[in-house]
């Protein structure tokens, strides 16, 4: 099929479909993190930053702290069944990789955590988890960035210092993820940060800002629908958790969806359909052979799919195939009354149901004046 054919097919495909923008908007409204979660995130983030800055033992070594992960990328969905949301925070320090072992670097933070979060924190392989009432904060410690880049991270701290600038996804997924292209450009060019891996006993590369920047650019190419497509499909996974394998999930899943989602989509519905279909097509051979596709991280040389099992991936692919068919059927329905139940099958009860067929009664020209009133009240 040539390019011309493709374009024609694309146009046909658009005229026969039902994007249901408002249904998806209301659906997304209901699967975003709740206002109380966002409030606690803001407060927890602000308090932690203040404490880090005020800590005399750490003050000399602390450069910056910033939000990363799905919340930062606006791809987070509300945790199902009121469980706690995971927020990832990166703490940039001045610790030199050559002077600290990963275990030593992490233990530097223990007195601080003991003082402020006693009994609420636990050490994990590559981070500290801090448990709060509605959210979990995941604290990732990084080694000193290159000398020249410390200033950029310092500025990032300043930018996030005011609470209002810490933007979490509250209906502004259509806004750019960065305030300016200059800021984005500066962050994109940064070198990867190094994080300690206690279990491996080694420092590892990470580049959260590259992931963020990639998502930002992808979202722009997808008519600002990409992050919403990711959220919708993450929600699909949560709804069908029982029939799906444990992995892929979170960032690895998001990464694959990013690879599959076509550019230039016109609606969330179209994005969902075409992402699922591309997923099914792209990985059909992998699934048949029960091997996991390799996917390199957006910023560093690292396979994000490393921890995923081939059988799990094949099982996931099987479910995605069903979902793709269902989504296509919903997308090509003639009206909302047909489409909404199908979307609800895919996304569960948070997707709004359609009202029953509308009434046809409406404007009747004034006949016979104002006389002959049948019923009603009047004062």
């Amino acid at each position: 099929m040539g390019a011309g054919n493709n374009r024609r097919a694309h146009r046909d495909f658009r005229t026969m479909t039902l994007p249901l923008h408002r249904y998806f908007e209301d659906f997304l409204h209901d699967i975003r993190p709740t206002p109380s979660q966002i409030k606690e995130m803001r407060e927890g983030h602000a308090r932690l930053r203040e404490r880090l800055q005020a800590d005399t033992a750490l003050a000399g070594g602390f450069v910056s702290m910033f939000l990363q992960g799905s919340y930062r990328r606006f791809t987070a969905v509300r945790p199902k069944d009121d469980s706690r949301a995971d927020v990832d925070l990166v703490v940039v320090t001045k610790m030199k990789e050559s002077e600290f072992s990963p275990a030593q670097a992490m233990s530097c933070f223990k007195p601080f955590l003991e003082r402020h979060y006693k009994g609420k924190y636990r050490q994990q392989g590559r981070s500290f988890g801090i448990e709060m009432s509605r959210i979990d904060m995941d604290l990732v410690i990084t080694a000193a960035p290159m000398e020249a880049e410390a200033g950029t991270y310092g500025e990032l701290l300043k930018a996030e210092a005011s609470l209002s600038s810490l933007r979490l996804d509250e209906d502004f997924s259509s806004e750019p993820l960065f305030k300016s292209d200059r800021q984005e450009e500066a962050l994109w060019k940064l070198h990867p940060l190094r994080i300690p891996d206690r279990d491996l006993g080694a420092w590892q590369d990470t580049h959260p800002l590259a992931q963020l920047s990639w998502t930002h650019r992808k979202n722009d190419r997808c008519g600002r629908h990409f992050v919403n497509v990711v959220k919708a499909l993450k929600w699909w996974r949560l709804v069908h958790l029982e029939s799906l394998p444990k992995r892929p999930k979170s960032y690895p899943l998001e990464h694959l969806l990013g690879d599959c989602c076509p550019d230039g989509i016109d609606s969330i519905a179209e994005g969902v359909v075409r992402t699922l279909e591309a997923f099914v097509d792209n990985y059909a051979l992998h699934a048949a052979a029960k091997i996991v596709p390799s996917a390199e991280d957006r910023g560093v040389k690292q396979d994000v799919m490393a921890r995923i099992d081939g059988n799990d991936f094949a099982a996931f692919h099987e479910q995605a195939k069903k979902a793709a068919k269902l989504a296509r059927k919903a997308f090509e329905s003639p009206d909302a009354q047909t489409a909404a139940p199908l979307w609800r099958e895919l996304f569960g009860g948070k997707f709004p149901s359609a009202p029953e067929g509308g009434s046809k009664k409406s404007f009747t020209p004034h006949e016979g004046g104002s006389g002959g009133v049948d019923s009603g009240r009047f004062a």
């Binding site: 408002r22 009206d335 709004p352 009202p355 009664k361 409406s362 020209p365 006949e367």
Partner: protein, 603 residues
């Protein structure tokens, strides 16, 4: 509410019902307009507009109350991709401020009954899922009707176009079929009208008489005492112009500038410039005068015209004194050139005023008494609590000739159940009541006689003789006997109403004849009156206050109002039946404040 409120589930549901439809495209989501404090929804609809110049798809802005599905829903055309003309059932469709993407021409999509405030489900959906959709359906039907030219179809009530009105003053006139016939006989197409301010209300001016352009009296409007009493020195003389039909711009737009008005005038060969310049010569005093523009209107679309309607506008001040034309000789010609440039060179807005037809049948379309009662001269004996309340109901219902007879004066204690107020304490009840009634109806001509009828000489007052309906609300036996002594020239309707203790029983006696049949009254009402008297004896009567031995009659304002309403009902019935004699009693059921209704007894 400058700050955007929460987008409610109901709002989401209402606009979601429009999503995914083939004939509606939502051009954006609901956004909060802080200027007007409503939600705004831009949308594009398809309507059946075949064989018309209207496009199939048009863009609209829907304004939705924050309390949806309660509150109002307004639909305005978008500035681009929508209608620019003004149609019937639409506000004047001016573009409005450049900052807003919608035009001013709000549509009237509600049915006649819904606009009254009735909430009939079948006429307009009131639930969150259906109400917005109902409006979009209504919009589509409106567009289809507009495309077929059916918004004002033959047989439907005629509708005047929406006038842009900023002035707070209004002009009232009285035009009906009789004056329409008179106008049709007159050749004059312009002249002078006599305008009087409504006493006590500086915002309202009434047209009292019409004169020809040369100053010949044409006819006067039949107003009541309130307007007739205004002295001539308070009158203003303003121009009137008459045209053949309603001056309109396509499709159904009122002219908003003098240029527009001239364009509409030309279409019916009306020389607007000529008329204005003729008047200008007599209005060069530096003030802005009002003027009237009249045209015939029909009651229903497609039917012949039945009355004249007037629009009123404030003229610009014409060249006068030294004001203009600067640098030119102050000749008549130069002044006119200046005035015409001022009026027509640039689009000068016409400052329209609101006008209302206060002809009796127009004013009382909400509820009038039967015609035989309205046309009748009414004699009211007794301006007490019952008489005053009955009189007020009669006047509001359209009685326009009334004679009130009562020798009493208003006391403070009366006011617990009397319609008058403290400013009238110490004044004759008849005169005070007459004055109050005058302020209620512009048609009312009322005479007050502060005397008692029982002292009337053999030859009654000419006003008493003139009345065709005689209502007695005195509860006085002497008055009935005095009535019986008078003989009228032709048959009259007599009606006597009274109530017992606490207004628990209302007694209504009516008769037709040339004299009041006092014997028949006692024969038929005696037993009821006797029962009421026994009841009175059992009652511990209240007194006026310290220092007065006289007891007063107990009945609360609500009881008196009920009795008065019943009296009017019975009177209306008798006016239709014209019985030789008839007695009706209405006895209240239930203990004191446990009202259960009235039991009626008729003979």
């Amino acid at each position: 509410m400058k700050q955007a409120p929460e987008l409610t589930q109901d709002l989401r549901l209402g606009r979601r019902a429009l999503d995914g439809r083939a004939d509606v495209v939502l051009l954006g989501d609901l956004s909060w307009d802080p200027e007007t404090s409503v939600w705004v929804l831009p949308l594009r609809v398809r309507a059946d507009t075949r064989e018309s110049t209207l496009p199939e798809w048009t863009d609209w802005y829907v304004f939705i109350d924050a309390n949806y599905p309660l509150g109002s829903i307004d639909v305005h055309p978008a500035k681009t991709g929508s209608i620019e003309d003004t149609y019937p059932h639409q506000r004047l469709n001016t573009p409005g401020p450049a900052t807003q993407p919608w035009r001013d021409g709000r549509l009237c999509l509600q049915t006649g009954r819904a606009s009254l405030g009735f909430r009939v489900e079948e006429e307009e959906a009131r639930d969150a899922a259906g109400r917005l959709e109902w409006y979009v359906h209504a919009l589509q039907d409106w567009l289809a009707a507009a495309a077929r030219g059916q918004l004002l179809a033959p047989g439907q009530p005629f509708e005047l176009p929406d006038l842009p009105i900023r002035d707070r003053a209004r002009v009232v006139f009285s035009e009906g079929p009789e004056t329409f016939a008179r106008w049709n006989e007159l050749p004059d197409s312009r002249g002078w009208a006599e305008l009087v301010p409504l006493p006590g209300n500086p915002r309202v001016f009434a047209v009292r008489a019409f004169y020809s352009f040369e100053g010949r009296w044409l006819f006067s409007v039949e107003w009541g005492d309130l307007l007739n009493r205004v002295p001539r020195r308070r009158c203003v003389r303003i121009p009137w112009m008459r045209c053949k039909e309603l001056p309109l711009l396509p499709v159904h737009a009122a002219p908003t500038t003098w240029q527009d008005l001239e364009r509409a005038a030309k279409a019916q060969h009306w020389d607007l410039r000529g008329d204005l310049m003729a008047f200008a010569e007599r209005l060069r005093d530096g003030t802005r005068h009002l003027c009237l523009v009249g045209f015939p209107v029909a009651a229903k679309v497609g039917e012949p015209a039945v009355r004249t309607h007037w629009w009123a506008a404030r003229l610009p001040s014409f060249s006068h004194g030294d004001v203009a034309p600067r640098g030119y000789a102050r000749t008549k010609q130069n002044r006119q050139r200046y005035d015409l440039t001022n009026l027509f060179a640039k689009p000068l807005p016409v400052d329209w005023l609101r006008t209302d037809d206060w002809a009796p049948e127009e004013l009382r379309s909400r509820g009038a008494l039967p015609e035989e009662l309205r046309r009748s001269w009414v004699l009211l004996l007794g301006a007490g609590a019952l008489g005053a309340a009955v009189a007020e109901m009669l006047v509001r219902g359209g009685v326009s000739r009334l004679v009130v007879v009562d020798p009493d004066i208003v006391e403070g204690g009366n006011l617990v159940r009397h319609t008058l107020d403290l400013t009238e304490v110490g004044v004759s009840k008849a005169r005070a009541l007459a004055e109050r009634l005058r302020s209620i109806s512009p048609d009312l001509q009322v005479h007050a006689l502060a005397q008692s009828l029982e002292l009337a000489p053999q030859q009654p007052h000419w006003l008493v003789s003139r009345c065709e309906t005689v209502i007695d609300c005195t509860a006085s036996n002497d008055v009935l006997h005095a009535l019986a002594r008078i003989t009228w020239e032709g048959p009259r309707l007599f009606f006597s109403a009274s109530f017992g203790v606490g207004a628990r029983r209302v007694l209504c006696f009516s008769a037709t004849g040339t004299s009041f049949p006092v014997e028949a009254f006692w024969a038929q009402c005696g037993k009821w009156i006797h029962e009421d008297y026994k009841e009175l004896l059992r009652t511990d009567l209240p007194r006026e206050g310290v220092g007065c031995w006289h007891p007063v009659f107990p009945a609360r304002a609500d009881d008196v109002m009920l009795a008065a309403a019943i009296t009017v009902k019975a009177l209306v019935r008798s006016a239709t039946l014209r019985p030789i004699t008839r007695v009706e009693t209405y006895s209240r059921e239930g203990a004191d404040d446990d009202f259960q209704g009235y039991a009626k007894w008729t003979a």
